[in-house]
Symmetry: C2
Subunit: 512 residues, 2 copies
Amino acid sequence: MTSSSENPDPVKAKCPPVLVDDVYLNGPTLDVNGAEDFIRESMRIITEDAVKKATDVREKVCEWHSPEDLKELLDLQLTDEGESDTRILERCRDAIRYSVKTTHPRFFNQLYAGMEPYSMVASFIIEALKPSLYTYEVSPVFTLVEDAVLRKMREVIGWKEGGDGIFNAGGSLSNMYAVNLARYHHCPDVKELGLSAVPRLVLFTSQECHYSISKAAAFLGIGTKNVYVVPSDNRGKMIPTALEELIQTAKSEGAVPFMVNATAGTTVLGAFDPIEEIADICEKHNLWLHVDACWGGAALMSAKHKHLLKGVHRANSVAWNPHKMLMACLQCCAFLVRDKTGLLQRCYSARASYLFQQDKFYDVSYDTGDKSVQCSRKPDAFKFWLMWKALGSKELEQRVDRAFAMAKYLAQEVKKREGFRLLMEPEYANVCFWYIPPSLRDLPDSTELWEKIHKVAPVVKERMMKKGSMMVGYQPHGDKANFFRMIIISPQVSRQDMDFVLDEIDRLGRDL
Amino acid sequence: MTSSSENPDPVKAKCPPVLVDDVYLNGPTLDVNGAEDFIRESMRIITEDAVKKATDVREKVCEWHSPEDLKELLDLQLTDEGESDTRILERCRDAIRYSVKTTHPRFFNQLYAGMEPYSMVASFIIEALKPSLYTYEVSPVFTLVEDAVLRKMREVIGWKEGGDGIFNAGGSLSNMYAVNLARYHHCPDVKELGLSAVPRLVLFTSQECHYSISKAAAFLGIGTKNVYVVPSDNRGKMIPTALEELIQTAKSEGAVPFMVNATAGTTVLGAFDPIEEIADICEKHNLWLHVDACWGGAALMSAKHKHLLKGVHRANSVAWNPHKMLMACLQCCAFLVRDKTGLLQRCYSARASYLFQQDKFYDVSYDTGDKSVQCSRKPDAFKFWLMWKALGSKELEQRVDRAFAMAKYLAQEVKKREGFRLLMEPEYANVCFWYIPPSLRDLPDSTELWEKIHKVAPVVKERMMKKGSMMVGYQPHGDKANFFRMIIISPQVSRQDMDFVLDEIDRLGRDL
């Protein structure tokens, strides 16, 4: 389809043929118009299989195959000869068929879920246009869109005037930006001289924080042992007095504390660290306060629930992923900064002269690429902007409120049902519980019992995946045996789905 | 369109209403089927405007507006109330209209260009399915596809058996992976203890390398001053004897050299460092050799041109972006590792227990997420895999050969024409040249003349953008005054487009 030696322009056709190094250079050899049928047919398949069927509650969430079997089914080998469009369309169908349907109403396995049509369309536009954010001249629309979204998100946080930020390829990267920026703020010389020239730097985070903080410490050369882990209470919230003590410990060791990471919405329990109290301690010790609100930031959209992040406006930086609770397409991750002095730019800039020329004909302050550790960067903010335009803040708020209510409903049901045991009342959209099969229900509470309960979730998980009926995550956590973690996000989900989840776990596990 | 209180399932409708915290939880409030018309219409707009019109040579590459004007045109404000689907579709049209058409045959501004229909369709599938690569259970298809593509790319590099790798959100990130991996290989303790516990580490790269190496040194805590910059020759290639000397210098200072970055295809000049000789030096001094082949890696697909990377199989790691010359959709960036002992996993792992449970029912060695600094990660390899399946290695090779030939043709034309001056013979697909308007052609070669020539390219660039006829980059470089850098990639381009570029520069600049 795409090979063509025809020249669509009659004027050009008159030119003499040109041969260089045995290659004819007259006329394009790829004609996008010739691909129209293929594109149209593939879009039909995507709409039918990857959108409609994938989100249909009557369909399977996944069609399980072992890696070995799936390799056979997919025929992955790359060879010298190409394949026909018909064959490629079959491959598209297969890729969709054997993929997990993360947009299915019964997918509860991660901190993202569901299908947001406006955001999906924004994603398609991005993929077709192939924009890259670094200079205004190459991405005028998306540069301005990113600026507008960051501005609005800062407003929601409570930073009324100014500030800075950037969208990143993932919340882990946003947390890394925070650690690096805090370090630069503490000691700008590190950028040039490196860490071997300064005393040992230490940062603080809770035991419940996301693992990206530890990865950041390793990647940024700080070292995982210089992440001082603050104990959390039994709700999963950082204990401020323990933070204060650890800061003193670090200082007494001759180390240099430079930042605290507070988590708003922890990964497993959905807990919110007490930001206000942590901010007091940061101010007292002159430490950068970063709030990892990748998961919990959505609560800021709700008048009813934003108190969970009380004090967040006192943070120096915030990471917030609209691709989680707010359902923007993957990935959509904002890193927001309170500073108004250009700290982000100074920290990250490398002033590449081939990209950031200073003699351009427009205001080069719109060239935002030198705030990034990336060069090419996708305009992810557009995926959030378009859906926000369509839904308005009000509908986003309603969705958040509904997810909270749905989590509360599920927790109530768990408490009502025999054989289910709630880990704790949910504070957010994580509902954690054990399933205890009939054979274990009458056993005395003991280490042996919990060892047996520990083995239940993996088997139920295996069975739900092989059946394809739903996907719910499980994990051990601290001294707790394997438990299920239900995540509630999508407005495609109703309370009937909550009931279904509990019924299905019971169906799948009652013989254990 | 997406708000619905109706319940599509008659069985569910019989359930009693449930109200929690003032929210009705019966039935979904988002019905993807209800969005079908919107999705269909948006896909029509994308096909017409973002695919067909965007790639039509008779259309403009861009419709220039200043940031201030464009803000007005786009109406970026985010508000409480949502907008109608009709209005959102208009916004889609506008976003496309005012965006730069990087897939247009006359877009030569970056190291990527053109429209690859197969890869675009793969991107759409990814966006619709919302997969994330960390565990096999959530992304079975894309996990295996990534493995297959990495395997094949390693084979092309010449690593016949085994090895490792990962796709990243950008070549800059791949280079960072390399620096971190080299550091970990040199001194595994750094992961836990950080750089303040070890002597000053130093890495080497040429003056022509991409700025991401410097950004990596800053980000990873090594410090930009510990990037020792090796002089390049007048072709832009690293001088091996100068590298050897700098290594000795570093050692004599008591610093610890740990890696060398060689560039295969530099950003501005398209130069290839002499890998074979650099590999000899690395072996002698026991240094990690990373090859940044983000841009030049494509030459490996060509029997005729792969000699440019001779010795690449001796590298410890290679960064290679199929989204550049090979036209996979943005972003598609492989980081490839020769090591077969699991170094990548050991270097990056954090063993998050909520994601990488060891009691799963399948072989967890397929859970590749702990090799990454990211948590959510997009399955970019699929965009390359599908087009490779469609085209076969042979057509990829032909495209690469054609880009080389086209660059050669353009260089010949530049030399033929009055008022154009070639910077140097191209070795790859970068063609660098000055345009000298008639008024300057008879002036004697002097600093004053070059100061005048320096001001020509920015004006021509402004004019081409305001006209929308094409986009070609320019930059100063070392002691060289501003010159144009043409990048040739896409098979949508013919030698007539090369002629057009030179004609157009002359038209736009002859009065200067």
